[in-house]
Symmetry: none
């Protein structure tokens, strides 16, 4: 090998099941994450069907653009093995029996107490131009080709075979062949503010970003993630700059930031409750149990979550929480008075430190001119007070429920931070 | 437009987040499924970063190979909007203010009681060569280009904006431009049986399928969808054959089939409750509100769903439902005795016709040799009896919660069908 490479990669995933939407391409996103974590740059993913010509065409294109091309799929013990012939054609080589590959399969079978079959011997037929790559979890070996400036690695498509092969065998060999800069990412998670308003608040900060840093807005219902990415030669300098930039950003939007990277709002709130040794319960109307579901989706949530009353019918609000019929008639079920009564009623009944309550019009029906679909009241009862807030979400039932639950969690988060 | 097209499609997804593995490319698989359902052929998905040159290069390549190119991502109200300039460069056109697009955003904002900002006016600047495509759920309009034999459609990357646009606006326009045979799909929804057992039950039926029909097994946690697809020239003949095949299939697996095509279990159960004018409530431990959430995710569910008690803590099971401390000590919270008491307790307390109760070990902790993670008891109380069943699900918390809720709904469905 002469000269070091920069680490420009492409992925080709093979399989009809990816194109007709039967399988989501999680292999590509997982590999992308691994490459990024190792400072390698994935510039393109190409997904094609089980078709010889498509494999050869996309290989030809990728090899021209990239230094490393990773192929997954199209290798396996059944008749749909089409990748090997295509690779032979592309690299102008032929299949030969590879003793090393066969011995690896034999060893795997012995560990599992199974006998090798004729089909396994067939799988040890590999293109002469490649080095076999061990498959610790299956019978189809990977293949490593080097031609001119480009490395091509073909791997099985079964995720648990590919992942172990990629991590243990492929990535280390790739890293030996690159001299690379570093890439650093930091994601800032925000809730309760839209993309455009967020952009307005941080406009000056964003314009002043150094040239080697860039910002991406990644909106989801109820939250916007801000991903800051930087690249450079000196990893320590890069981390220092990242940290300075984030330190300047946070004060501009502090009330909206609930976490970083893979944090979820329910996780952040759960951790705070655990840390302060506090308990929570919910009294839900429009969220219909979804808020309780989010709180209990995290393992270990029984340490702080005690339970809920889902009071969809008004009679349940009256019989189970301390809502009065007078208040419902006077102010409506979607009102400050009722939602506050629900929160304090649940708090007392379940003997919890905090109670969250929701009441709103999730839609698509039930809206009025004064209270259109998307009107939601949320209340939080603590040992000293009951606070509440009115929100106006959109027209979509599922998203209204989701956004109501996130807004509730955020109300609790802000209260917990005052501790 | 001259001459009809065959329906060869490609997708280009834009976004660094897809390449660094922060977001899985579910847009592409969803679009692939829609195209396949409509008899269109997706031959390639290309995933690239937020990079002008990459957008232009991949567009150039896709346009040469395909008749329809669908782009998602890179459209939004913030500064990372890079798709429009690239499209202008590619189509040799410039951005002009589009009144139609602006009026659509204005109408959306008015429905939500919000005011349009200068940024929204900016979003109505579109390439002169395109027709705007309405975005029913957001502010960034889609763009439809036709050049020579190829159609290029650019859409936002936010899934709920893209999906509505693709289904309601893009697919119908595409179908008008292709000449094709007929393709018919019918999906049979099953619950409570695994893929291999299902395959055994319908083996003979499957082997006898006509040549122009094929069957796909689409497993999901807690359910298996069977998709039967047929193609042919004569639509009426195709529909008759489909109907005959389905009529022969159903009796083989009748107890597992809960619906067809887009039916969900919660919808089917909701419709039955409505039809029989019955009410339901839930008493949930391991499902933590998720069962109530499924029941209330359907619009109009207040007609039959009254409410729930989420009794995560044992003290709530005792104080709110008629569970005794003795039973909890003697049999454990995850037991036939406790879950049946929860169901009948809730039924009485909330005065509902049916009450479902769940108690199980969702994991990852809390398992014992006798009751490993995934052990779940489910009970149903009616006006005449309480029935219960023990399930053994897997090790994954989220999937255990999901499967418990589906099994509960199925228990109620089977009971309702006895009416």
């Amino acid at each position: 090998m002469t000269g070091k490479r920069k680490g420009i990669c492409e992925i080709i995933t093979i399989g009809d099941e990816l194109l007709i939407g039967q399988v989501v391409n999680t292999n590509a996103s997982w590999m992308g994450e691994q490459l990024s974590l190792n400072g390698l740059q994935l510039q393109r993913v190409t997904s094609i069907g089980d078709n010889n010509q498509q494999i050869i065409d996309s290989l030809k294109e990728s090899v021209e653009r990239a230094e490393f091309v990773f192929i997954t799929g199209g290798l396996g013990p059944t008749a749909d093995d089409i990748t090997k012939p295509a690779l032979c054609e592309f690299f102008n080589t032929k299949l030969v029996y590879n003793e090393e590959a066969f011995q690896q399969v034999k060893a795997l079978f012995q560990r599992r107490g199974m006998k090798v079959s004729g089909r396994n011997k067939e799988q040890a037929m590999l293109p002469e131009a490649c080095q076999p790559v061990q498959n610790e979890n299956g019978t189809a070996p990977g293949m490593w080709f080097e031609k001119d400036k480009t490395v091509v690695v073909s791997m099985p498509g079964v995720p648990y075979e590919m992942k172990v092969m990629f991590e243990n065998q492929v990535i280390p060999k790739v890293l030996m062949r690159v001299s690379r800069g570093h890439i650093l990412h930091k994601t800032i998670m925000t809730n309760g503010i839209g993309e455009s308003n967020l952009a307005d608040l941080i406009k000056d900060w964003e314009h002043a970003l150094p040239k080697n840093f860039k910002l991406a807005y990644l909106p989801q219902p109820g939250m916007v993630r801000l991903r800051l990415s930087g690249n450079g030669r000196d990893n320590i300098e890069l981390e220092q700059t990242m940290s300075t930039l984030v330190d300047k950003l946070i004060p501009l939007i502090s009330e909206y930031v609930f976490g970083f990277d893979k944090d979820s709002l329910e996780e952040v709130v759960g951790n705070l409750l655990k840390e302060f040794n506090k308990t929570i319960g919910t009294a839900e109307s429009c969220t219909g149990g979804y808020l309780a579901h989010l709180l209990t989706s995290k393992a270990g949530s029984s340490a702080y979550f005690k339970g809920s009353v889902i009071a969809y019918a008004n009679e349940i609000k009256i019989s189970e929480l301390n809502v009065t019929e007078t208040d419902i008639n006077r102010f409506g079920a979607v009102s400050k008075e009722v939602v506050e009564a629900m929160a304090s009623g649940l708090r007392k009944k379940f003997d919890v430190d905090y109670a969250l309550a929701t009441s709103g019009i999730a839609g698509p029906d039930g809206g009025t001119p004064e209270k259109p679909v998307g009107t939601v009241w949320i209340a939080l009862a603590t040992d000293t007070k009951v606070i509440s807030e009115k929100f106006q979400f959109g027209e979509h039932r599922g998203r209204n429920i989701h956004r109501s639950a996130l807004a509730s969690l955020n109300m609790l988060r802000l209260e917990l931070l005052k501790q």
